[in-house]
């Protein structure tokens, strides 16, 4: 039985490797046979990639991008969760704020970039702000939803146990709404990365977005591809970190959902 599964795994791995290698071989062959500016050889992309992930370039281009996403995402999550849980708990607030919240959700954050640039200049404050502006609404709306969906029986139990409103908010509503909040955080992560790239493409002189923009203008395509790959790696790292956090914080939720479904 185990040998069979191992055999399957090997075939699977083989198939995947074959596909990837074939694609890479096609690329390389095309790069050699039909040289074109948009088709650099793989080794050039690899060397650009390598340059980007260590040394001076790492510090100058990669770290600022990572820092901006980190800062913007953290701020957006904290603000979104706090405000959202509050609005969700004080149910009366929702009708007043709904139109504004829906507007902010529907507004493509990129359209605010020129305004942000105007108000804050080409600064990191502007870039982080636009990231926050983009990634806060999903978290906020998810937090509102999560707080409102807390089971009445849990709230009743809290009341009969003599908890004050503040205690109920912290000890019942926050944990109960957390699964929903994390769903919002997943969306926020995607938006934060997008806003980071956009703000750097349009209004920055360092960072990965600026890097690929600059190299595109100079037709250094290997650098462009390498830059995109590094952005992908950065995105993957952030996603993995978030999933790990979610797994730990919501360990109880996965088991619970498995039971009641």
């Amino acid at each position: 039985m185990r040998a069979e599964r191992l055999g399957q795994r090997i075939v699977e791995f083989g198939g995947q490797a074959l596909l990837l290698l074939t694609l890479m071989a096609c690329w390389q062959a095309a790069a050699i046979l039909f040289p074109a500016p948009y088709l650099p050889r793989l080794e050039r992309i690899a060397s650009s990639f390598w340059n980007l992930i260590h040394g001076e370039l790492l510090v100058r281009e990669v770290l600022p991008s990572a820092a901006r996403v980190g800062a913007g995402l953290t701020l957006g999550i904290v603000l979104g969760t706090a405000i959202g849980l509050g609005i969700g708990y004080f149910r009366g607030l929702d009708p007043w704020l709904r139109p504004i919240l829906e507007f902010l959700r529907a507004l493509p954050a990129v359209t605010v970039l020129p305004a942000a640039l105007l108000l804050l200049g080409s600064t990191d404050a502007m870039r982080v702000s636009i990231i926050v502006f983009g990634c806060m609404p999903p978290v906020l709306l998810a937090a509102i939803d999560g707080a409102r969906r807390v089971d009445q029986l849990l709230l009743d139990t809290a009341r009969v146990s003599g908890l004050t409103s503040a205690q109920t908010l912290v000890r019942v509503i926050v944990p109960a709404a957390l699964p929903q909040v994390f769903a919002g955080i997943r969306v926020a992560l995607g938006v934060a990365l997008i806003m980071m790239v956009i703000s750097e493409l349009l209004a920055a002189n360092n960072g990965l977005g600026a890097f690929i923009q600059r190299n595109q203008r100079l037709f250094n395509t290997a650098n462009v591809y390498a830059g995109v790959l590094v952005i992908g790696v950065l995105a993957w790292l952030f996603t993995a970190a978030m999933l790990e956090l979610e797994k730990r914080v919501l360990r109880w939720h996965r088991g619970w959902r498995g039971v009641i479904e």
């Binding site: 089971d151 029986l153 849990l154 009743d156 139990t157 009341r159 009969v160 146990s161 003599g162 908890l163 205690q167 000890r171 019942v172 944990p175 109960a176 957390l178 109880w252 939720h253 088991g255 619970w256 498995g258 039971v259 009641i260």
Partner: protein
């Protein structure tokens, strides 16, 4: 033992622990009356069962008694006092245990949920005793999703008694478990209530259960509910699932309660009250 800490040596109060006076409640602005002039009382340490036809408003009544719902008319007195909020010596066990247990807390933490005002040592002592009383000491570090239905309900029970209540409300607590578990839980609840000398109010649709467990049974009419019968249950304790349920006294009481409830389910001739409530099914 903390479970009986709350009792003074001299238990001669004649004040009922609970007094429901003319309780009236309707939903949607008065067009759907649920309770109308419900009144009864409960003595200290008494096991009271409330039965009635399905959907007659038993749960609404319980929520009003628990202080979770404000009645439209009448009042609920806990030891002669009208409380704004649930009094601290009142505990409740809901029917849907999988909706009232906190899924992110272990059994131990769930049981200790209402004890946040105590210091750690005292809290741990009470939780330990409560878990031992319901037989969950071995499962203290498990989470609700790892428990069976019966164990979840016992966790909810442990949570209620850890708070050292004097009045325990049970809202159809055994309706969601299988028959075997139900009998075990019934025995457990009775034993704990007897040991702790708890006043217990059990809302149930199961007439056998009501007669088996209670000292007194209050029968509600269908909507809008009021009390139509108040029946004393003079079966000896401790009660046994087999012996008690086969005794002639049990069968007589069962017959009496069953008939009373069935009367309420049958369509009645329209009265002035029925007319305003849009008829009775």
């Amino acid at each position: 033992m903390f479970l009986t800490d709350h009792l003074s040596d001299d238990v001669t109060t004649t004040q009922p622990i609970l007094s429901v006076e003319g309780l009236t409640k309707s939903y949607t602005g008065g067009t759907a009356p649920v309770l109308h002039d419900a009144r009864f009382w409960q003595a200290e340490g008494e096991f009271l069962a409330v039965v009635g036809p399905s959907g007659c408003g038993k749960t609404t009544l319980l929520r009003c008694i628990a202080g979770l719902l404000k009645p439209d008319g009448g009042r609920v007195l806990h030891r002669g006092v009208e409380h704004m909020n649930p009094p601290p010596w009142l505990s409740i066990v809901f029917q849907d245990y999988n909706r009232s247990l906190f899924p992110w807390l272990s059994v131990r933490r769930n049981a200790g949920f209402g004890l946040h005002n105590l210091n750690k040592a005292e809290r741990e002592r009470r939780v330990g005793e409560a878990l031992a009383a319901v037989g969950l000491s071995h499962a203290a570090d498990l989470y609700p999703w790892q428990l069976s239905g019966g164990m979840q309900q016992r966790t909810a029970l442990a949570r209620s008694i850890a708070a050292s209540p004097e009045l325990l409300l049970l809202d159809e607590p055994f309706a969601s478990v299988d028959a075997q578990t139900r009998m075990d839980l019934q025995d457990l609840v009775m034993r704990i209530c007897q040991e702790m000398k708890l006043a217990t109010l059990l809302v149930t649709h199961d007439i056998d259960e009501a007669v088996f467990m209670a000292d007194r049974i209050v029968v509600l009419s269908s909507r809008p509910a009021r009390v139509v019968e108040d029946i004393a249950v003079r079966l000896s304790r401790p009660r046994d699932q087999l012996a008690t349920k086969e005794s002639p006294e049990f069968l007589q009481l069962r017959h009496r309660v069953f008939t009373a409830v069935r009367e309420e389910v049958k369509p009645r001739k329209p009265t002035a009250l029925n007319a305003t409530s849009g008829g009775v099914k």
